[in-house]
């Protein structure tokens, strides 16, 4: 069974290129967003992006990650993906994992749509055979037709997004890490896209989804985490967390 377990996990970004220490000191005063900037008086300063998290995700958990800009949502996703290792504590995880942080990841605009399907599929860890089985379906969903034989740099922005979205959502994994990227293409496509996204999410076992949209969060998730300055403020049923944090009032685009 796929699971993720975080025990006393902290993530601290070192700062290597600060202008001066007085600069970081002046930053730490009165800030509304971001993790805590630490300056311990030595030459090293750092940002405490995630502060002592204890969390367990199990099969069936579809978790919305909520919080202001800089609360640590993306940091947590990058930590779960394995890009960062925790600077304190440890993470145990099991299950095939896919990261969809950036819709356009791995796309090469000089190559054709079909070549991009192959390339991105491989980067997502699919075997060539698996990708070839999916190519037709991806092509059909993107509705790009013979444009798929042309280099992506000739596509409009909307067409590129369609292709990227169709590729990303063809990945099936047990654990899905999603950063916010809803709303690709024109109105017709958005409806199709949401449907396809839901299908992918419900086929997975665990979802962790960073978002600012309460509606989308409600639609896809059954649990929620609320982060503030890297600290875990609430974790539980999505309705309770949202009510507790008055998120409907705070909702913004």
């Amino acid at each position: 069974m796929p699971f993720i377990k975080l025990s006393n996990v902290s993530l601290e970004y070192p700062i290597y290129d600060t202008v001066s220490r007085s600069f970081t000191r002046s930053l730490t005063r009165g800030m509304q967003v971001g993790g805590k900037i630490k300056n311990d008086g030595s030459t090293k300063s750092s940002i405490l992006a995630l502060d002592n998290l204890n969390l367990t995700f199990v099969d069936g958990d579809r978790v919305a990650l909520l919080g202001n800009n800089g609360a640590g949502k993306t940091s947590l996703l990058k930590l779960l993906s394995g890009f960062y290792e925790p600077t304190k504590g440890h993470i145990e995880k099991e299950g095939k994992l896919s990261v969809l942080l950036n819709l356009m990841a791995g796309m090469d605009v000089n190559q054709s749509g079909y070549d991009n399907i192959l390339l991105c599929g491989m980067l997502h860890g699919l075997e060539r055979k698996e990708i070839l089985q999916k190519v037709e379906e991806i092509a059909e969903f993107s509705e790009l037709g013979s444009y798929l034989y042309l280099p992506v740099r000739l596509y409009s922005q909307g067409m590129t997004l369609r292709l990227a979205f169709s590729i990303c959502t063809s990945v099936n994994s047990e654990i899905l890490l999603l950063d916010e990227w809803i709303g690709a293409g024109d109105a017709d496509f958005i409806v199709k896209a949401r449907e396809r996204l839901s299908r992918m999410v419900f086929a997975s076992s665990i979802l962790v989804f960073a978002t600012h949209h309460p509606d989308v969060a409600r639609h896809l998730c059954n649990k929620a985490i609320y982060l503030e300055h890297g600290k875990l403020i609430a974790f539980g049923d999505i309705e309770e967390v949202m009510q507790h944090q008055n998120l409907d009032v705070l909702s913004h685009n």
Binding site: P14, G82, V99, N102, A105, G106, D108, M122, L123
Partner: protein, 266 residues
């Protein structure tokens, strides 16, 4: 488990994942080669053509300047230049790879070694195209074929092993200290001139001694000597094998120690 042990295990897992994700680095590396010559009519053959132009123009002049037989000098220059490009490009490109491919690391479950293998692979493709020029020159000059040529793939493997451990160290250093890749760019430009590529190591005793002290000379000779002279000197193999073993121990220890920090430096 003690911390050092986990570090080592994670580094080993990284290496194994790199080896296992062959399809990824083969595809990425091949894509890099295509992109470099994108939309040009000759495509990757430009890699062959540009080295042919270089050797074809420089070879006859320098051969007479140094009073060396044209055939010997041109093949000496060609093979030396190909191997030098291979080694120095791998090392310098490795030093930029983690920084330049940070977006791949954040978006996919890629190991660091996957990216390094991609660099080696794309340079191997270029080397193969450049070796077409050797075929042309060998036919033109009626270079005698020798059984010793069979050792060339093995020599290439040894060269790769050595280039990769230097590249691994560079990639870590350059991620942490950005000045390193510029610094080594400059150093390598100089090393080129002290390595017997455009000059002959056997011209006099002094030059020969300088060459013997240069590790890049031994790497080049692994590949050049059998093709040019139909001869295999054990000493080059002994030195480069020793370099590979000690280098990999050093590089891997460094990688194991700092692997978890690299992400923070990107």
């Amino acid at each position: 488990m003690p911390a050092g042990n986990t570090h080592f295990n994670n580094a080993l897992v990284d290496l194994l994942n790199g080896i296992n994700s062959r399809s990824v680095w083969l595809a990425l590396g091949w894509n890099d080669v295509n992109n470099r010559y994108n939309r040009s009519k000759l495509g990757v053959f430009w890699a062959s053509l540009s080295i042919l132009i270089f050797v074809g123009a420089l070879g006859p002049i320098y051969a007479s300047l140094m009073s060396v037989e044209t055939r010997v000098y041109m093949i000496h220059l060609l093979l030396g230049f190909i191997v030098w490009n291979f080694v120095s490009n791998i090392i310098l490109e490795c030093s930029k790879e983690f920084i330049g491919s940070a977006h791949y690391l954040t978006s996919f479950q890629l190991s660091y070694f996957t990216l390094l293998f991609r660099v080696v692979w794309r340079n191997t493709v270029v080397l193969c195209y450049q070796m077409l020029v050797f075929v042309i020159l060998a036919l033109f000059f009626r270079q005698p074929v020798a059984v010793e040529w069979a050792v060339v793939p093995l020599a290439l493997l040894m060269i790769m092993l050595n280039a990769l451990w230097i590249g691994l160290i560079m990639s870590i250093l350059a991620a942490r200290y950005r000045d390193f890749s510029e610094l080594f760019n400059n150093i390598f430009r100089l090393v080129f001139f002290v390595t017997p590529i455009i000059w002959m190591p056997n011209a006099n005793e002094q030059l020969n001694q300088i060459a013997q002290l240069n590790p890049f000379f031994h790497l080049i000779e692994l590949f050049r000597e059998p093709l040019l002279q139909g001869n295999i000197s054990l000493v080059h193999w002994q030195i480069t094998a020793a370099m590979a073993v000690s280098g990999w121990i050093l590089a891997f220890a460094l990688f194991a120690r700092y692997r978890s920090r690299i992400a923070f430096w990107l």
